[in-house]
């Protein structure tokens, strides 16, 4: 039964991917990518990766798609040009790479085989011990924030870097006051009412995902993205200039940096109290308590940075769109 669902989902993935190759209408391609992302998120649920599914749906199908649409709005080139000559070299490279990978899979343990080495070494400790060592039910959250917490710090730094990069390239600087064009949707009453009703619910959901991440799927990344999505919805409906009155670029900048800083400082705190970097055991009076506190704080740091960066990136794009519209007029 499960296999059938798998096959249907993989079939959908294949169809979407091939359609992306064939299509030339960029708008349709972006939408297809969004579908691809959403279908793979469903696939992840079926493969028991609920946390990953939540993230993929929010990030891939949500934020990435919004950014791609923003780019399309600025480039205004909806058709891809036909290539001049047959792509023989790329086909050759892809064929060789694909063949190497298929060759590589031949000796791999079979799909879902519980005896595979991957399930015998390292991972069992997480499953068996995390309940007592960390004391939270969500094993993924335990590994993410504690066992491999340093990876997550690096990843938060990547997010911060991305925010920095988009700020550098597109910049929210200058001429903000002249732009009143940000609220083209404002006069649509239905949108306004629904938007007003949805935004608080989304924020509530973001908080739920943030703080429920230890018990069920969720955590700082997912929560940050959902919170950013709430503000993005608000700024689509009410205009991004209004949204910027609620969270000014200045505050966003501070939030972007302070999340990473908080994460790193929790680690430094572990060092100061005599443990290793990111050792949460020493933070509390007993190890599991320290772990709780540490995970809570780092997840908060992740959430703050991710929310701020995603929103900042969106604002950068939106401001650019508005500038271009004004220049076009």
């Amino acid at each position: 039964m499960v296999n059938l669902i798998d096959i249907v989902l993989m079939g959908l993935l294949l169809i979407t991917a091939f359609a992306v190759v064939r299509m030339r209408d960029l708008f349709a391609i972006v939408m297809l990518f969004s579908i691809y992302s959403l279908v793979s998120a469903s696939f992840f649920v079926n493969l028991d990766a609920v946390d990953v599914a939540l993230t993929e749906a929010a990030v891939g199908a949500g934020i990435s798609t919004v950014l791609m649409l923003g780019t399309l709005a600025m480039t205004r080139r909806y058709e891809e040009r036909r290539p001049r000559h047959a792509p023989l070299l790329p086909l050759f490279i892809v064929a060789v790479t694909g063949a190497a990978l298929i060759y590589g899979t031949l000796d791999m343990p079979h799909f879902a085989d519980p005896q595979a080495p991957i399930h015998q070494h390292v991972a069992p400790r997480y499953i068996e011990q995390s309940g007592t060592e960390i004391g939270i039910p969500n094993i993924v959250a335990s590994i993410l924030a504690s066992y491999r917490g340093f990876d997550t710090l690096g990843e938060t730094a990547v997010v911060f870097t991305a925010g920095l990069g988009v700020l550098t390239l597109l910049g929210r600087f200058g001429r903000r006051e002249e732009l009143s064009d940000g609220r083209s949707m404002y006069h649509d009453m239905i949108l306004r009412v629904i938007g007003k009703a949805l935004v608080p619910l989304m924020l509530l959901f973001a908080l739920y995902v943030q703080f429920h991440g230890e018990l069920g799927p969720g955590g700082g990344f997912q929560a940050g993205v959902v919170a950013a999505a709430a503000f993005i919805l608000y700024s689509i409906v009410f205009g991004w200039d209004r949204a910027q009155k609620i969270i000014s670029p200045f505050v966003l900048n501070i939030m972007m940096a302070s999340g990473v800083t908080l994460y790193a400082l929790v680690g430094v705190g572990g060092m100061l109290l005599g443990g290793e970097f990111l050792n949460y055991n020493v933070l509390g009076s007993y190890p599991a308590g320290g772990q709780h506190l540490g995970i809570f704080l780092v997840e908060l740091g992740v959430g703050i940075t991710v929310a701020a960066v995603m929103l900042s990136i969106y604002f950068d794009f939106a401001a650019r769109v508005a500038v271009r519209k004004m220049e076009a007029r």
């Binding site: 949707m185 649509d188 239905i190 949108l191 629904i194 009703a197 949805l198």
Partner: protein, 104 residues
Amino acid sequence: MISVILDILSWICLMGGSFLGISGAVGLFRFPDFFTRIHASGVTDTMCTVLIIGGLMLQAESWQMLAKLLMILLLLTYTSPTSAHSLAKSAIRGGLRPTLGSGD
């Protein structure tokens, strides 16, 4: 006994929902212009989600799951018509006009 009736009811809901979903998709492909297409998908979509989620609710094992499904249902009944509406509105503002009549 009860469970059999619930099962049958839920399957009727699920099948009905699926039928509506597919007919909406067919409409999306076969109808002549943007507005009729969005009409096709927008109208069937709402009922389709109501039926499918209703069918799933009949299968729910716990109150918690029931409550979650209810919330999803509420969310979708709000958002899916709104998105259809705003799509249509943007199309109008973008200069797209419905193809009216055919014989004149």
